[in-house]
Amino acid sequence: MTLLLGAVAYDPKVVTIWEGFCAFFAKHGLKADYVLYSNYERQVEALVAGQVHVAWNSPLAHLQTQRLAARRGWSTTAFCMRDTDQDLTSLVLVRRDDPARHLADLKGKVVAVGAPDSPQATLIPLSALAQAGLTPGEDVTVQVHDVLRGKHGDHVGGERDAVRALVRGDADAACVIDGNHLLFTREGALPAGAVRVLYQTPPYDHCVFSALSVGPAEQIHRLKELLLGMSYDDPEVRPLLDLEGLKRWREGRVSGLAQLDEAIERFGTIDGWLAEAGSRL
């Protein structure tokens, strides 16, 4: 049997990555093929419908999978993840001269966020605002910068637009993942020293490989072994790891998804989708 992997095509490089990974798996005796989806919702439904065995999921898609699969009585595991997806933080940036000192000081202000389904640039930071007593949409105006809906914020464009809005003065705060703060400065979207960090979230985790309890356990185990065995020192593998943005694969964990779980419970982010997708089961 060929192990089928699902991935979302948020960028053309995704083809190169999975062609390369599948060739690597084949070389090590695992027959694998991949199916690309245009958005995570489509992929999650396909995984639960058994059309693929494993999905390379955004953290939101993993939680969606968990909830949808639970309706059929199946559990979901996150069996592997990138080193670079562990212990991320999101930042709430304000202009350097802004008098705000705490999140609560943003009351009545405009907060620029990324795509509505972006965990790092929208859901987690807005949840932090809510926890600080500011209800998004009521106590603060949420300015959405939506690039590629359904991609769960994988496209960096939304965050870049949010930061530009902050620098221009069209927004009073912008929410970005920590790594992009430095990236945008290097790219020139963010003049050095123009903004400062008002708030940093506690660490959380990002993408995971999801599989269902009813999946082909032996092959999934082999896939995990092969991933964990990939070495950055191997010149065959290194360009793929560079493209996918990691140095080594790690054992998956879901403990880092708690903040996001809390956010989608608080905002009811996926309730509508879950009801619809559940009715199609």
Binding site: D83, T84, Q86, D87, L88, T89, L91, I177, D178, G179, H181, L182, T185, R186, L190, A192, G193, R196, V197, Q200, Y232, D233, D234, P235, E236, R238, P239, G245, K247, R248
Partner: protein, 393 residues
């Protein structure tokens, strides 16, 4: 665990260049040690954490202090030195993965393979390439200032017609002389840097030749002369020769070699000082083109004696495929006679005719000498020279 090393960045932020200092400190860090990073930049912690994660380094914070523990993942494991920068560092067969890297650079393992079909030193290399390239660069001339374009053209209209016909023929042949090395340039492994540079400057020479011959033809005429089937059929066989050694032999040694005689002939007998100067300068360039062809083929023949037989066969094949064509067109031959005669008085024509016969004998003599330099016996050289295309190139 070793003792921590401390780096103090002062007020310098990671978004203002401090990363360079962090990377430098990490390079110098003893194995097993951590780097403590201090600094007053307000965003230092946030940025350092994100950067370290992306690099595969560990990151820790405690009581306002921050550490990076190097992850030990190395991009440069297995990297390979792409030969040596000096000519002595040229290798027999450079790796396709060295690609466009400078000769002598350290190439990251797993770099993409670029397949250049001319990747064997024996096929392309000559120790003379670097010297010939330097000579060529030093000898570049500016057509605008090197040619006396305003000099008088004293001869009559019919002689001018002959000049324009010869220019038309030269332009066509120079175009082949530009395209043939240009095609091989794109197939040559850049590891052979000096050869690549020499081929590049050779094509630039030919571009200039095309320019000056065209400009000369247009001084008095708006219409150019004739281009014949036989001439183009001859050049087509050059363009279609896929083997670098054989093409180089047919074009540089035999063709441009014959052209050297032709350009010297024109330098001596052309009826006006403009044409004479153009041909003098072009001949200087052609001498280098011939020299490189001879140099790399002599080396190649010494390493692969079987090549000589293939060169002879190439001349014979070309002769057979051109046997049914006219070769040099009558108009060019007649134009050369008129040009060398300078007028239409029978005694002038007799002299012009005599001179063109001498030119052909000179060409044959030059070809035989060059063939002998490649190790052909005198008799074999004479036979092969006689089979050379009547188009001269």
């Amino acid at each position: 665990m070793k003792e921590d090393t401390t780096l103090d960045l002062g007020a310098l932020g990671l978004d203002a260049g401090a990363l360079l200092l962090v990377k430098r400190a990490l390079r110098a860090l003893p194995t097993g040690a951590r780097l403590e990073v201090r600094g007053e930049s307000p965003d230092l912690g946030h940025q350092l954490r994100a950067w370290a994660r992306g690099q595969g380094h560990g990151y820790g914070e405690q009581d306002g202090r921050r550490w990076i523990s190097p992850g030990g993942v190395g991009r440069w494991a297995g990297a390979e030195r792409a030969g040596g920068v000096a000519p002595a560092g040229v290798v027999e067969r450079p790796s396709a993965r060295w690609g466009l890297a400078a000769r002598g650079a350290l190439v990251e393992a797993g770099s993409p393979a670029l397949h250049f079909s001319l990747d064997e030193k024996s096929m392309v290399w000559s120790e003379d390439a670097g010297r010939l390239y330097a000579q060529a660069v030093a000898a570049q001339w500016d057509p605008e200032t090197a040619i006396p374009w305003d000099a008088a053209i004293p001869h009559d209209e019919e002689v001018e017609d002959a000049v324009v016909q010869v220019m038309t023929y030269l332009i066509e042949n120079e175009t082949a002389a530009l395209l043939v090395p240009a095609r091989f340039l794109g197939q040559l492994h850049p590891h052979f840097r000096e050869v690549m540079q020499l081929l590049a400057v050779t094509t630039a020479d030919e571009a200039r030749h095309i320019e000056v011959f065209t400009r000369r033809a247009r001084l008095r005429r708006t219409l150019l002369g004739l281009s014949t089937h036989g001439g183009q059929a001859s050049l087509k066989t050059l363009l279609e020769e896929p083997d670098f050694g054989l093409a180089s032999f047919l074009l540089s040694v035999l063709g441009e070699g014959s052209f050297l005689s032709l350009l010297w002939f024109l330098q001596e007998h052309a009826p006006d000082p403009i044409t004479r100067q153009i041909c003098k300068l072009a001949a200087q360039d052609e001498a280098r083109h011939v020299a490189f062809g001879l140099a790399h083929l002599s080396r190649h023949v010494s390493l692969d004696p079987g090549l000589r037989g293939r060169l002879a066969l190439a001349v014979q094949h070309r002769h057979q495929s051109l046997a049914q064509t006219a070769g040099l067109n009558e108009e060019v031959f007649d134009a050369l006679v008129v040009l060398a005669a300078g007028g239409f008085d029978p005694t002038q024509i007799a002299q012009g005719y005599e001179r063109v016969l001498t030119l052909q004998a000179d060409m044959d003599h030059g070809r035989k000498l060059r063939l002998e330099r490649l190790g052909f016996h005198p008799e074999e050289a004479a036979a092969l020279s006689a089979l050379h295309t009547r188009n001269f190139m």
